[in-house]
């Protein structure tokens, strides 16, 4: 249980500010436009489709951060719902 929360204390506002800034700067620095994400999405669909049947409408891709607290790195996170795997010929 979070001790601070138990005593009804919110986290200091500067920590909230720092977290918000980190995330927004990842976006600003990468300069990712919605168009860019759409392009990536299209290409992912193209490639994955060779191996699996995917739910194109459910495909989600976003720009965010990942990694340990304090040394986060920008990350492209994609969620690709698969309807059915395709038979892949063995090489």
């Amino acid at each position: 249980m979070d001790l601070l929360k138990m005593f009804g204390k919110e986290p200091p506002s500067k920590d909230i500010a720092k977290e918000r800034l980190k995330l927004i700067l990842i976006h600003d620095r990468a300069n990712v436009s919605p168009q860019f994400l759409e392009l990536v999405k299209g290409d992912i669909i193209k490639i994955i489709s060779d191996y699996a049947e995917i739910d194109e409408k459910g495909l989600e891709i976003k720009f965010t951060k990942s990694g340990e607290k304090g040394c986060e790195v920008p990350a492209l996170v994609a969620n690709i719902p698969i309807k059915k795997m395709k038979e892949i010929s063995k090489y």
């Binding site: 506002s13 500067k14 500010a17 800034l21 980190k22 927004i24 700067l25 600003d28 620095r29």
Partner: protein
């Protein structure tokens, strides 16, 4: 050959002009030959900060357009004879000067002055392009607020894209009472987020308002905390290693060390 320094921020109102006035005055106090350039055409203010508004005849735009010679537009400071101001036009807009013209002018001034300090307008458009055109070094000013830090990051990106790799950060208007309570971004938070070299920390100080009223940069006020902060910044610019005083902990700071020394037990 002199060194040109542009003072920039992205966000408006964070203290660029105040910083320019104090850095240029401070460098002059150390005996350097300095010229401060107002690159905020249309919204000039540097003349007011230096208390020289009544002496302006020609300006930057006149020089660029060939109306007068560069020497004629330079205004000598009241207090320091090795400090000059190159004001800009108040009734023109930023497109009146081109980056190439600015670069040429700054290079010309570098032949004669030790330091050229350029006050950049807010924003990332034409005025910014002009102000950074001839700069060897950039000082990025920010305040401990999310919007100012975000805009500073944008400016740092722009400077890096231009190859202006010598850029350093001034954090202005720190309120130690608030950082202590965790209600304001502190120095570590900001250097961590922006990942650039720290040039200085300037506390929130009412004396800045008073000195701006008078047209006398706060660095000339011996008793002002902000003035002390600018003095350290200036020394760092000249290459001296000056430790960062941790104002945050009043018990380890310079002033309290002094107090302890005099009022032992």
């Amino acid at each position: 050959m002199g060194i040109s320094i542009v003072v920039t921020s992205g966000k408006g109102g964070v203290g660029k002009t105040t910083t320019t006035a104090n850095i240029s005055t401070g460098l002059a106090m150390l005996g350097k030959k300095v010229v401060a350039i107002d690159a905020d055409t249309g919204l000039r203010n540097l003349d007011l900060h230096l208390g020289l508004e009544n002496r302006i005849v020609y300006n930057l735009v006149d020089v660029v357009e060939g109306v007068c010679r560069l020497k004629q537009a330079l205004i000598k400071d009241k207090r320091y004879e090795n400090l000059y101001l190159l004001p800009t036009a108040q009734t023109r807009d930023k497109t009146a000067v081109k980056p190439e013209q600015m670069e040429k002018l700054v290079n010309e001034l570098k032949e004669e002055f030790d330091y050229i300090v350029i006050d950049c307008p807010a924003g990332i458009e034409h005025g910014f392009e002009n102000a950074v055109a001839g700069a060897d070094m950039a000082v990025v000013v920010t305040t401990p607020e999310v919007s100012a830090v975000r805009d500073a990051d944008r400016i740092i990106g722009k400077l890096e894209a231009k190859g202006l790799d010598n850029h350093q950060l001034i954090i202005n208007r720190i309120k130690y009472e608030m950082t202590k309570k965790g209600e304001m971004l502190n120095i570590d938070d900001m250097t961590d987020i922006l990942a650039i070299k720290l040039l200085g920390i300037v506390p929130e100080d009412e004396k800045i308002v008073i000195s701006t009223n008078r047209g006398e940069p706060v660095i000339t006020d011996e008793g002002a905390k902000a003035g002390q902060a600018y003095k350290n910044i200036v020394r760092r610019i000249t290459g001296e290693e000056v430790p960062f005083i941790d104002f945050e902990d009043e018990n380890t700071g310079f002033f309290s060390a002094l107090k302890k020394f005099f009022f032992k037990k």
